[in-house]
């Protein structure tokens, strides 16, 4: 019996990393998302799927402190503050938490990169923002990360605008992982990538989740990516979560009419 209790504490990792309650966002009369509640633990990958216009990106923006919700709470277990509603923090505190504890990978890499500084500097910058000053160490760390995302190292001193879309996306991913965040938000992160690079990044993200306890919220419309990456899925339609559960259960035995339609529409290769 004590054994069970002990194992449970290990299992639950006790506190949630993120706790969302009754989150809604309205744009005037239009609903972005409504009444979303869920919890996440360290090392967990949550996939959010649904067709375009279903409220995935609105939800992601509310969760990541970029768009104040109309109602509800977004509580994050921040390393400096413990479990707090991120919208109760002062602007500077929230920004510092975002820098230290989070990463955000945009669908369009140009939204997440600084186009006027080199690719290498883009990757090293988050470390500099956290107060690191040893140039040699930072350069080594960025080389290491650029290697991990399989970027051609001879190009690191070039500006990102000279890169292909796939290269830009890889730089953006490296930039968002280098400071060992605890939670990464990803909006269609592998959408514009070659399948081979996509596979490498999926493997890399899985490794980080396992070894560092990184948690991720992954918005995608690619069911194959969702199946390989996400532990749990939330299916959204018209701003509401219509189904949630373990990824393989949601995809293999979908209950809601919309999820059944979504799953049966996937092309088999």
């Amino acid at each position: 019996m004590t054994m069970t209790a002990h194992q449970e504490t290990i299992d639950q990792a006790d506190q949630p990393l993120l706790r969302v309650r009754g989150l809604s966002k309205h744009y005037g009369m239009i609903t972005g998302c409504r009444d979303v509640s869920f919890e996440m633990r360290p090392g967990e990958v949550l996939g959010i799927v649904g067709e375009s216009g279903s409220g995935k990106t609105t939800l992601l923006n509310c969760l990541s402190g970029r768009l104040p919700p109309s109602q509800g709470r977004v509580e994050f277990n921040a390393s400096r503050h413990g479990l707090v509603d991120i919208y109760d923090l002062s602007e500077p505190d929230r920004r510092r938490m975002q820098r230290e504890d989070w990463g955000f990978v945009h669908q369009n890499p140009r939204d997440g990169l600084r186009m006027r500084v080199s690719g290498g500097a883009n990757v090293a910058e988050p470390l500099m923002n956290l107060g690191r000053r040893h140039y040699g160490d930072m350069r080594q760390a960025s080389l290491d990360w650029l290697n991990r995302v399989e970027l051609d190292l001879s190009r690191i001193d070039d500006k990102p605008r000279t890169y292909s879309g796939g290269m830009q996306q890889r730089v953006q991913i490296a930039r968002n992982l280098i400071h060992a965040p605890r939670l990464v938000f990803m909006d269609e992160p592998t959408g514009g990538l070659d399948v081979s690079v996509q596979a490498r990044l999926l493997d890399l993200m899985r490794e980080l989740v396992r070894d560092l306890g990184l948690a991720a919220i992954l918005v995608t419309h690619d069911m194959a990516v969702a199946r390989l990456m996400a532990d749990r899925l939330m299916v959204m339609k018209s701003g509401a979560v219509v189904e949630t559960g373990l990824t393989d259960q949601v995809l293999d035995d979908p209950q809601h009419p919309y999820t059944q339609l979504l799953v049966s529409s996937v092309l088999q290769i």
Binding site: M1, M3, T4, Q7, E8, D11, Q12, R41, E44, V195, S196, A199, R200, L202, D203, R206, R210, R227, L228, D231, R232, G245, L246, D248, Q249, D252, D253, Q255, H256, P257, Q260, L261, S264
Partner: protein, 244 residues
């Protein structure tokens, strides 16, 4: 019900009054009944083999026990850390924990991230449970050897492998950990006779160590070699009328 050979042990799996039907909302909400009022217990050291005609729901039952399919009623309790967890009602976190440590599942298909080497795929379940990478690797090597997967393939991703080779990778991934509960859905379907024997030996060794197993095997020889008991899924068939 027949008694198991490990008498006195609490069952590792306890299925009570289980019911499953599918509702296809986009095909006029048609109801497909599968089974109902299904009871089953599997004790440590037992290998219960599901029998019944094709399409009767053997795989559906197995997947419902694993939590891959959602039960329509009843419960599925699995021993996890000395207590029962009801898979049909547990939180996703709990089901994931049960699958990580207590209940393995071997399907006919290998579904993995592309471009990862075979050996890394095989040790993955161990790393996920915090086993030292060196030790994980040495266990993987001896397992792949016993499954006669050519050493030249170990560093390659299995995408280009033959069906039988992929299946052996899948088996290695599941047998590298000693899961107390193991579900086997046609693990020997595309194997030749020699490799089938190896898998039978792996299954028997796990049973001797007290694993509780449920299997679906179309191969008569394998079935005869490992089954401690047959379980006829067709006797719980749900009538069209009782589907609600």
């Amino acid at each position: 019900m027949q008694q198991s050979k490990h008498n006195g042990h609490a069952p590792s799996i306890r299925v009570t009054n289980l019911k499953k039907q599918f509702t296809l909302h986009n095909q006029g909400s048609i109801e497909i009944p599968v089974f109902e009022s299904l009871n089953l217990e599997v004790a440590p050291g037992e290998c219960v083999v599901f029998v019944g005609d094709s399409g009767i729901g053997k795989s559906t039952l197995m997947r419902t026990i694993y939590g891959n399919y959602l039960a329509s009623g009843g419960c599925v309790e699995v021993q996890h850390d000395g207590a029962y967890v009801d898979i049909t009602k547990a939180s996703p976190h709990m089901v994931a924990a049960v699958r990580r440590r207590s209940m393995g599942y071997v399907s006919q298909f290998l579904r993995v991230i592309p471009r990862i080497s075979t050996i890394d795929l095989v040790i993955e379940p161990l790393l996920g449970n915090g086993v030292d990478p060196e030790e994980a690797r040495s266990r993987a090597v001896s397992l792949l050897r016993s499954l006669r997967l050519p050493e030249a393939l170990w560093s390659l991703p299995p995408a280009t492998f033959s069906g039988g080779e992929q299946q052996r990778v899948n088996i290695a991934r599941s047998f590298i950990r000693e899961y107390p509960v193991l579900l086997l859905d046609e693990p020997t379907a595309s194997l030749d006779a020699t490799n089938r024997e190896t898998v039978v030996a792996l299954i028997k060794a796990a049973l001797d160590k007290g694993a509780a197993m449920i299997g679906i095997f179309h191969d008569q020889d394998v079935r005869d070699a490992v089954a401690t008991r047959h379980f006829d899924v067709s006797s719980f068939k749900m009538d069209m009328e009782s589907a609600a």
